[in-house]
């Protein structure tokens, strides 16, 4: 278990949404075994796969499933991997706490963030909204979060969002931006919202069934649509089997998944999903 005898180094990179979990896993593992050096980056899901499929990293964090072309790149490089579901996320649309807006319909979300958006004031979206200028803070184009919003929610064929919003790969920057600017809007993973619930306000989303607030329950129950999404880690099979540190870290991660998710303030998997993940992990040790 904890791999108390193991030593060596593990390189993890990828989704910034998953970063806090993988980082928390590393931090908790270090309390048990300080001989394992884990470095966790947050290059974004796409950037992470790029490195993962060229063999530079052992584990890749992802806030969406691997894309076909990424999978091909891995296969071409002879890299076999295993996908492990680690948590659920509720992509949260947040605004400055003083803004008198509480709920958006899915259509309004699309209108607000879409590549051809003409929305410069909140009142452009709905005349009942205040006359405040809109300022946006959104994840960078390399993030899975951006991809998810662009491709799966907005769904424009260009798969992009509007370009005049501030963007950053670091979700903390987004929190700062939204909380520090009047009329600001942004979106990011649920955790970042929960950590900063006192600074920003989460909007409810109305996908035709009435306004639903993001939360562990609504996400787990499948009510928070279309913004709930799964989070993964991808493990390089060969590295897992050859590098005792990678094995120790992965085992520890999955073993303590509930505690890690809780520590990192994520929405833990339900029992069913967790059982599936454990099975997948067992399949890894080949």
């Amino acid at each position: 278990e904890g791999g108390s005898g193991a030593s060596g180094s593990v390189t993890v990179d990828g989704s910034s949404t998953v970063y806090p979990m993988s980082s928390a896993a590393a931090e908790l593992l270090a309390d048990e075994n300080s001989d394992i050096e884990v470095s966790v980056g947050f290059a974004g899901t796409g950037g992470g796969f790029e490195k993962f499929c060229s063999g530079d990293t052992d584990i890749s964090n992802a806030s969406r499933p691997i894309k076909d072309e990424e999978a091909t790149a891995c296969t071409d490089a002879g890299i076999e991997y295993t996908e492990l579901l680690v948590a659920t996320d509720a992509l949260t649309v947040v605004v400055h706490p003083d803004l008198a807006v509480d709920c958006l319909t899915t259509e309004q979300v699309v209108e607000l963030f879409g590549p051809n958006s003409k929305v410069t004031k909140w009142s452009d979206l709905d005349p009942s909204f205040p006359d405040t200028k809109v300022a946006g803070f959104i994840p960078g184009t390399d993030s899975g979060t951006y991809d998810y919003m662009a491709a799966d929610v907005v769904g424009d064929e260009s798969e992009t969002l509007r370009e005049d919003f501030e963007s950053s790969e670091d979700d903390n920057v987004l929190v700062q931006g939204v909380s520090g600017t009047e009329g600001a809007v942004g979106f990011f993973g649920y955790t970042y919202f929960e950590e900063n619930a006192d600074k920003v306000k989460a909007l409810q989303i109305d996908d035709g069934q009435g306004c639903v607030a993001p939360s562990a329950e609504t996400a787990q129950a499948g009510e928070y649509t279309p913004l709930a999404r799964p989070l993964f880690i991808y493990v390089n099979n060969a590295k897992y089997n050859d590098n005792e540190a990678v094995k120790a870290y992965t085992d520890f991660y999955i073993e303590n998944l509930a505690a890690i998710a809780k520590g990192a303030k994520y929405i833990p998997l339900n029992d069913e999903d967790y059982a599936e993940t454990k099975t997948a992990l067992e399949g890894l040790a080949g």
């Binding site: 290059a43 005049d164 931006g177 600017t181």
Partner: protein
């Protein structure tokens, strides 16, 4: 013309000549070669910079038309955001604000140090001012965000500025380059010969008139060089604008809004670790090359100013 030889003893007579033959000193030659090598390396660095940047830049322009690079708005798809003009705007606006702070304060400090301060006071005041340049730029960045933006601009002044904005980045950047301007300008002012000051005082001019009408114009080329060097520092500074200036490609002129500069773009993109080889990644180098070219030109201008107008007194 002289009777030296007849009246003096023959020079050097009766002594065997000492050995003066050339000896080889291989150590000496090796050392000199090493020193030369070290100096030549500095040229290697310049070539290295250009070489390191140029490859990906060429690749970038194969992927993206030049017109799209020099566009004011991104016209591309997926993860290509090639427009550089908004970044140049960002650099221009923050730099302008920085110079508005640094030039008057820097020159004022320089005039005080050179024309008013006693020798002893100068010995300690000048390094103290120079400390401002020694404060790490992350520290300034942090200060810009949490003090200047939040406490001064939004709090005390009650301005409706964005969390990331050019005011804060530019002002703090200006403070950071005050010593660059002050130090060089002070050197230029001090180099004005005392005789000119005496001449002015003897005409019944007071100290202010002497400073402004005689010393300042006489030192003008050095002062111009100081300002230009400050400009080049402002254009190249990264952390303050990355932390306080935001990441929006913004063509508006309102300093209360945030905007990305060329340097901030490089830092933020590099941190995001965009996949190697993609246009998004290669753009990093195109922007860096542009930045390098701009600072190179600015610096060449400053060297030329000094050369051209160097006072002979």
């Amino acid at each position: 013309m002289s009777d030296a030889l007849t009246s003096g003893p023959p020079p050097g007579a009766g002594l065997t000549a000492p050995d003066l033959s050339a000896r080889s000193r291989p150590g000496e030659a090796v050392i000199k070669a090493l020193l030369l090598l070290a100096a030549v390396l500095s040229i290697g660095i310049t070539f290295g910079i250009v070489a390191a940047i140029i490859g990906p830049t060429i690749e970038f322009f194969q992927q993206v038309p030049v017109g799209q690079f020099f566009a004011t708005k991104d016209i591309g798809s997926q993860d290509i955001r090639p427009a550089v003009v908004p970044l140049m705007m960002g650099t221009a606006i923050t730099t302008a604000i920085a110079l508005v702070v640094a030039v008057p304060f820097g020159l004022g400090a320089a005039m005080y140090l050179s024309e008013y301060a006693s020798k002893r006071a100068r010995k300690w005041l000048k390094p103290t001012v120079e400390l401002l340049a020694g404060v790490p730029s992350v520290v300034y960045g942090f200060f810009a965000v949490y003090f200047v933006t939040q406490i001064v601009l939004q709090g005390w002044l009650g301005l409706e500025v964005s969390f990331f904005n050019s005011w804060s980045a530019g002002l703090v950047l200006g403070v950071m380059i005050i010593p660059t301007v002050a130090s060089l300008a002070e050197d230029a002012l001090s180099a004005v010969p005392q005789a000119l000051r005496q001449g002015s005082f003897a005409m019944g001019a007071n100290r202010m008139q002497t400073t402004l009408r005689v010393v300042f114009p006489a030192a003008l080329s050095g002062i111009a060089a100081a300002v230009v060097l400050g400009l080049s520092r402002a254009v190249g500074e990264t952390m303050i604008v990355t932390m306080a200036g935001g990441a929006a490609k913004n063509m508006s002129l309102d300093p209360g809004e945030g905007r990305q500069t060329m340097t901030a773009f490089i830092a933020q993109t590099a941190q995001g670790e965009t996949p190697v080889g993609t246009p998004g990644y290669n753009m990093l180098f195109a922007v860096a090359l542009l930045l390098f070219a701009i600072t190179f030109v600015i610096n060449a201008v400053s060297i030329a100013i000094v050369r051209r107008f160097r006072q002979a007194y």
